[in-house]
Subunit: 343 residues, 2 copies
């Protein structure tokens, strides 16, 4: 069975605070270009890899809580990607199919089809979109905003990390639903993007707001109905002070906390009672059965230019570690993607 | 218009940390025993007054958030009580009616009927029950457990402050719903009560558990489906580590935090995401339309002895301040009630 070179990005050391490029290593492995006899797995050529904030949690040594398997040192990272099927032992996939789903940070991967693996039907959009707007982040924004947030026309919506892979979509969904939406981000460029490209009603740079509570009072004099939570910590504490009665906090991520050995304490949870707030964590995997419905909603809007998407694309597996690390310093503008091959 | 003596418990000073008896004062006022001409108010003779943890929040000087009016110094406290109608300018009430609802800490009160005021229909149960099991705390337990908690048979339920006015009922509702329920309380007597009187599957004294996380792992090796939150702070943080996927945290109160100038920080909120937890604050007033349905559920169970209720009753307005203060050191065993008159 012929083996070919298979470059991989492996986790070298468990990460303690902010991840560094040197926590990962680019190593040369090999892989058989044929499926093992009787296998029902799928052999993939990886085209695009997705950098997502949740990956930081899997880089810690701490025993993962229920349902959370952290990475193993010496093994390639896992994550979402777009790939082409080279061989398939599973009846749902055949050679030549384009797919998106769970793969590994390497050139070729042998994956169980029982993991998340969607066949790509629409190829008249950029393939990289299946790591973002048409993939996990898109479904996350859709399920989180509509299914967990239950928006009503006129709702006041606040989105943190608003120019990120998920946030930029939440803001656009909010506008399309007749809501007022304000986003926060960490640079002037990102704030401009929010206001001028994604159509947020307003946006601010949280790094220039020493008093987040005062900033929120300025943008939401009547309070916030829906907070789409991507960052956690101090931002959440300030938001709790500014929520309206019967508000909803959609807890999608807490990226400001992932690099801290001891997360910041949140002190204003009493406001959950006073204002009868629903604060709800969710995981996109619980909503993947709605993916066809999501495509019906979003594909026409992409084609008509009613929804736009900004990606930050780097070329080559050798840039992968740097790209992932950049996510936690906010270096990326838009969805961070790594291209390994274009087809 | 004849005026009569009307003893009152007033707030003397705004409270900073734990309330003290000396923060309140017993003063002699007067009140007209006739309604003002054309009034649609109701003149009440107060029979029972209810001591409830939420009252602590109203004793602080801090500007109340939306919908929260703190007490005024020099004025009587307000709160739930049971009373007899002496005069009524409102068509729904007539002289001689027994009612429960919002009144003031004084012998006689002139109240607007537009406040919460329910006519008492069942008088073959102790009248004091309308400050507890048949009043606001009963409705709180019912709405919180059933409407917010959405229990399923077999769910593992944890209740903090479990021997209190609300907690003792939540535990009994959980058992009647086929759940496994464990309660925490602050003394051996209370723990005995939980196990032997209220039928909790198990119970523990949190003061004897230096590691709350370890205690919860012992009582819930498979994790917690529903946490009925009455205390907040460190308890909530330990519970978050022990919740199951799709668990629900019913946020009813956070009594451990009410006396702190700076609430304890809660650091494990990331578990909301990992385990897809819904954490929801609620206010019983949103559910009062279900009161008739609640009575249908609970009155037969009281009469058949399927639900029991423990009260801690003191006599006389002069004991009221002490009774209220005792709530925050856990001195009371069961629902704290003050009797002013028996009819």
């Amino acid at each position: 069975m012929a083996e070919v070179k298979n470059n991989q990005v492996i986790l070298k050391d468990y990460v303690v605070d902010f991840p560094k490029e040197s926590d990962m290593d680019l190593v040369e492995g090999t892989i058989a270009q044929k499926l093992p006899e009787g296998s029902n797995e799928v052999l993939l050529k990886n085209l695009y890899l997705s950098c997502d904030p949740y990956m930081r949690m899997l880089m810690s040594k701490t025993e993962g809580p229920e349902g959370f398997q952290t990475y193993s040192t010496g093994s390639p990272l896992t994550g979402y990607g777009v790939a082409k099927v080279l061989e398939s032992g599973h009846p749902d996939y055949k050679k030549g199919d384009l797919v998106w789903g769970f793969t590994r940070w390497e050139e070729y991967s042998l994956v169980p089809a029982s993991m998340i693996l969607f066949k790509i039907e629409h190829t008249d959009v950029p393939l990289s979109y299946y790591t973002g707007i048409l993939g996990m982040p898109g479904m996350t924004a859709y399920a989180g905003f509509f299914e967990v947030g239950l928006p009503k026309e006129g709702d006041k919506v606040f989105v943190s990390a608003a120019s990120g892979a998920v946030g930029q979509l939440v803001g656009q969904f909010a506008k399309l639903s007749g809501c007022y939406v304000v986003g926060s981000a960490g640079s002037k460029d990102k704030v401009d993007l929010l206001k001028n490209k994604f159509g947020f009603d307003d946006a601010f740079n949280y790094k220039e707001e020493p008093d987040l509570n005062a900033a929120l009072k300025r943008y939401f004099p009547e309070g916030i109905d829906i907070y789409f939570e991507n960052v956690g910590g101090k931002t959440l504490d300030a938001v709790l002070l500014n929520m309206r009665v019967h508000g909803r906090i959609v807890v999608c991520g807490m990226v400001s906390q992932y690099n801290l050995a001891q997360p910041e304490g949140v002190t204003n949870l009493q406001h959950l009672i006073i204002k009868r707030i629903r604060m709800q964590g969710f995981n996109v995997t619980d909503y993947y059965h709605q993916y066809p419905k999501f495509l019906e909603y979003i594909v026409p809007k992409i084609k008509e230019g009613k929804i736009v998407y900004v990606e930050d694309i780097v070329e080559g597996l050798e840039k992968a570690a740097q790209a992932l690390v950049g996510l936690f310093s906010g270096r990326n503008v838009g969805k961070q993607v790594i291209v390994l091959a274009h087809e």
